[in-house]
């Protein structure tokens, strides 16, 4: 699910370092225009990704608080008779299962081992690719380090191979397992094919163009000519960047940090939370069933004397 993120940096930086300035030196005007378009698409997709992600994040961040609906993996404070006077779950305790889940996909390992065999290498590959991009392409921009090309190439390739094996396994399993086929939209199979193409493209772009003597950033800046494979890889990555805000990567974020699953934050008298609750109870109730009188607010239901006595079924 995090594949999209890793592809960003690769194509971006290769294009960045092989800037149109260098291409201009090649005196190929049509190529310049084409590359400007590619660069435009690429950076445009980054901007789109950032803005669309922020819009979605803000939409959730400003959403009204909700009634509590948690569940628990183990004992909770409710086992204590004075639970309301105790400190509730600390952030660090909430984060522990999150980290385990992100790194090892623990729930899949326990509950769905068959899928985990492929999901795990896929995710490890993606994590390594993200780190690779940071190490090989981003860090040299910030600090003065020189990366050993051999290890850079090895790391990138191992990561890509792991992600590809995992991705291919998931695709095959999705297509052959009756349970996994259930309700899986056809278009998502194409997504996996596209993921694999992007991975293969990235592998090819790096391996064939940069070869075993992968250049440092400085070398790349000085004279590297942007080959078609990199352009294609950049365009594929742009597509991923545009898709990213609508993908599971944002859902993943909410999976762990949203105040839903393990929220466990009590409403204390006089707290900010209580003020929010009061504001929400002041909202009108606009549902239309017979037992809900028109024009009431939520708080009105707590003060009415003859309550909810109308029958329901009115079909």
């Amino acid at each position: 699910m995090i594949l999209e993120a890793c592809e960003i940096a690769g194509a971006a930086n290769l294009l960045f370092w092989n800037s149109p300035r260098q291409v201009a030196e090649s005196k190929k005007g049509d190529r310049i225009v084409f590359l400007y378009i590619v660069v435009g698409i690429y950076y445009g997709s980054i901007a789109f990704c950032v803005i669309a992600s922020l819009v979605r994040l803000i939409k959730f961040a400003v959403a009204p608080i909700h009634l509590r609906w948690e569940f628990y993996r183990t004992s909770s404070l409710y086992e204590l008779s004075d639970w309301w006077a105790r400190d509730h779950v600390r952030l660090v305790d909430k984060l522990k299962p999150v980290v385990l889940e992100i790194l090892f996909l623990r729930d899949y390992y326990i509950r769905n081992r068959g899928l985990w065999y492929f999901l795990f290498p896929f995710h490890v590959g993606i994590y390594l690719l993200i780190l690779w991009h940071i190490w090989y392409l981003v860090l040299p921009m910030i600090v003065n380090i020189r990366v050993d090309p051999f290890w850079g190439l090895m790391w990138g390739h191992v990561a890509t191979v792991l992600a590809s094996i995992g991705g291919l396994g998931i695709l095959v399993k999705r297509m052959t397992d009756e349970d996994l086929r259930a309700y899986y939209p056809s278009i998502h199979y194409l997504k996996w094919v596209f993921i694999l193409l992007t991975l293969f493209g990235g592998f090819y772009a790096v391996h064939c163009c940069l070869g075993a003597s992968m250049p440092s950033i400085e070398e790349a800046e000085i004279g590297l000519y942007p080959p078609s494979s990199i352009v294609i890889h950049a365009l594929l990555s742009s597509a991923w960047l545009i898709y990213l805000p609508f993908s599971h990567i944002l859902r993943l974020f909410f999976r762990y940090y949203h105040h839903v699953r393990w929220d466990d934050v009590p409403n204390v008298r006089g707290s900010g939370l209580e003020r929010k609750v009061k504001r929400l109870l002041d909202q009108p109730v606009r549902w239309s069933a017979p037992h809900i009188p028109h024009g009431r607010k939520w708080e009105d239901f707590s003060s009415e004397r003859e309550q909810g006595t109308e029958g329901s079924r009115n079909t």
Binding site: I65, D82, Y108, N267, W287, H291, N314
Partner: protein
């Protein structure tokens, strides 16, 4: 012969055809003697009259009792009302109560089907597609995509996720919302936190709050009756007084103790809220609480105020408005009595509703501390506040974990520590704790028995629990050995009673059921006679 697999889009097809018929060959086998096995038709078909009057085209079962529309116009009107309700369900303003959880549950699913293997109904039914936890969620997703978004119709066809929204779809979906006990084991298992139990609840809410469709037992006879006469059981305050007098006499008869059960005692520390079903079906539970509290220095009271003597809040299963009405009423009763805290007795959903869900409903002086009875009971046992002799409970005991208390609240250990102290032959069911299986009576099923729904819940929704109980006692299955299923929840007790009864488990295997407090009182050293009467009830 292998059946044709039911697809998501089938829900809107074949208006008068039944999507599924459950047979004895379909359902999961049980570890018991063949004479108690399932017949070919474990769920009795509805009568012709019922079939012609009520919607049952999902699986031949009617839980909700939805009358069939009389005309096409009426059908169209209902479809429109469904869409109106769906818009409200997806609106932050109209559905602030559960909007975040709903949207996340709808969006998070990656269709890995991990949840399917967690669902006792899906497994017990022999993996019938319509009972798959993701089936109803997927139906809802497709409807939203097609009918709530611009260009949804075209997109649905392009992506192969088409669905028809017609009366057949809606009627089947309404019934399908009552084929899930909302035990939320699927949500616990989901690696992405998608909560199919919540989707079930929100569907029920749409039907109730917008279309006025809800099972009679939960709405008219449930929340409406509770708010009107005081209890979903129909017990009125005067009737309650009589019942309590009877209980006091029974306590004296059983134990020789003269105990006055306190009522409306202002300024008491604890307002004890029982599920009023206990007053009628399991008075020994209320009596046991009274005996235990009388034996200590606990300052407590019951209430005779309307709603104040019935802890149930069925709103938590289907309707936010009813949930708010009842939760605030509970808090008002406690406030007027001036008690320090509310203590909820052996009722799982009342725990979840009042302690957790209502936490963001009750504000100001209505936000009174609310606690479970289990930690208090643990304190009595584990800190030696009552003298107990485990030898008096020297029979096999297993524990059922009510989903609402355990998985959905994290109250896992107090009941175990109590049983470990007072029941030498305590054994766990597998799985247990937060991984437990629902009794099959959750989310209102325990009180729903109209038409042939009783058959369905005994055959399908409670099957996994029955299997667990039988397996827990496999080494002592001889009917001459008395065995006890401890279920510290009123609704669970009702469902387990029906399950055991359907298999003649008392006669055939010597298995009885009951609550936790009965075992505690049974072990009290100052009682001359055993408190538990080994007879079926």
């Amino acid at each position: 012969m292998k059946r044709k697999k039911i697809r998501v889009e089938d829900i809107g097809k074949g208006r008068n055809e039944q999507l599924l018929t459950i047979t004895g060959e379909d359902v999961m086998p049980l570890p018991c003697a063949p004479e108690n096995g399932d017949c070919q038709q474990p769920v009795r078909p509805l009568t012709e009259e019922q079939r012609s009057g009520y919607e049952c085209s999902l699986d031949g079962v009617s839980a909700v009792g939805i009358p069939k529309p009389k005309s096409k116009e009426e059908e169209d009107r209902l479809v429109q009302r469904f869409l109106d309700g769906l818009r409200k369900l997806l609106s932050q303003k109209d559905n602030w109560t559960f909007w975040q959880q709903l949207v996340l549950a709808l969006e998070n699913c990656v269709r890995c089907q991990t949840c399917s293997e967690a669902c006792p109904i899906y497994l017990s039914s022999g993996k019938q597609e319509i009972y798959r936890p993701t089936y109803r969620a997927e139906v809802l997703r497709r409807i939203i995509r097609k009918y709530m978004r611009k260009g949804g119709g075209v997109l649905a066809k392009v992506t192969g996720e088409d669905i028809e929204l017609n009366w057949a779809t809606i009627a089947r979906l309404a019934e399908l919302a009552y084929r899930c006990t909302m035990c939320r084991r699927c949500a616990q298992w989901c690696p992405l936190g998608s909560d199919n139990g919540l989707i079930t609840r929100e569907l029920r809410k749409l039907f109730s709050q917008e279309m006025g469709i809800a099972p009679r037992e939960i709405h008219e006879s449930g929340t409406v009756q509770q708010l009107k006469v005081g209890s979903s059981t129909g017990i009125t305050p005067p009737a309650l007084e009589n019942i309590i007098s009877f209980m006091e006499e029974e306590i004296e008869e059983k134990t020789g103790k003269k105990i006055k059960i306190p009522f409306d005692r202002e300024g008491a520390d604890i307002l004890l809220l029982h599920n009023a079903g206990e007053f009628i079906s399991w008075p020994e539970s209320v009596e046991a609480f009274a005996i235990l509290f009388d034996a200590t220095d606990i300052s407590w009271t019951l209430s005779s105020e309307l709603v104040g003597y019935d802890a149930v809040n069925y709103g938590v299963w289907y309707d936010d408005v009813q949930l708010v009405r009842i939760a605030t009423k509970h808090a008002q009763v406690a406030k007027e009595l001036g008690v320090k805290r509310i203590n909820v007795g052996e009722c799982g959903h009342a725990h979840k509703a009042l302690l957790v869900v209502a936490d963001r409903i009750l504000t100001g002086d209505l936000n009174i501390p609310r606690e479970s009875a289990l930690p208090l009971l643990e304190d009595l046992v584990c800190n030696g506040k009552i003298k107990l002799d485990p030898g008096r409970n020297d029979f096999p005991v297993t524990l059922h974990d009510p989903c609402n208390m355990v998985r959905l609240m994290g109250i896992v250990e107090p009941q175990r520590r109590i049983l470990s102290r007072i029941c030498p032959q305590f054994r766990e069911m597998e799985p247990h704790g937060v991984d437990n299986y629902c009794c099959g009576g959750g989310s209102g099923f325990a009180i729903m028995s109209s038409m042939n729904f009783q058959d369905w819940k005994e055959t399908v929704s409670g099957r996994m629990k029955l299997k667990q109980i039988l397996e827990a006692f496999q080494d002592v299955i001889d009917p001459g050995i008395h065995k006890y299923v401890c279920a510290p929840c009123s609704n669970c007790k009702g469902q387990i009673r029906d399950l055991l009864n359907s298999r003649g488990a008392w006669e055939n295997y010597g298995i009885l059921y009951g609550g936790l407090v009965e075992l505690m009182v049974n072990a009290m050293v100052d009682l001359e006679k055993p408190f538990i009467a080994w007879e079926w009830r």
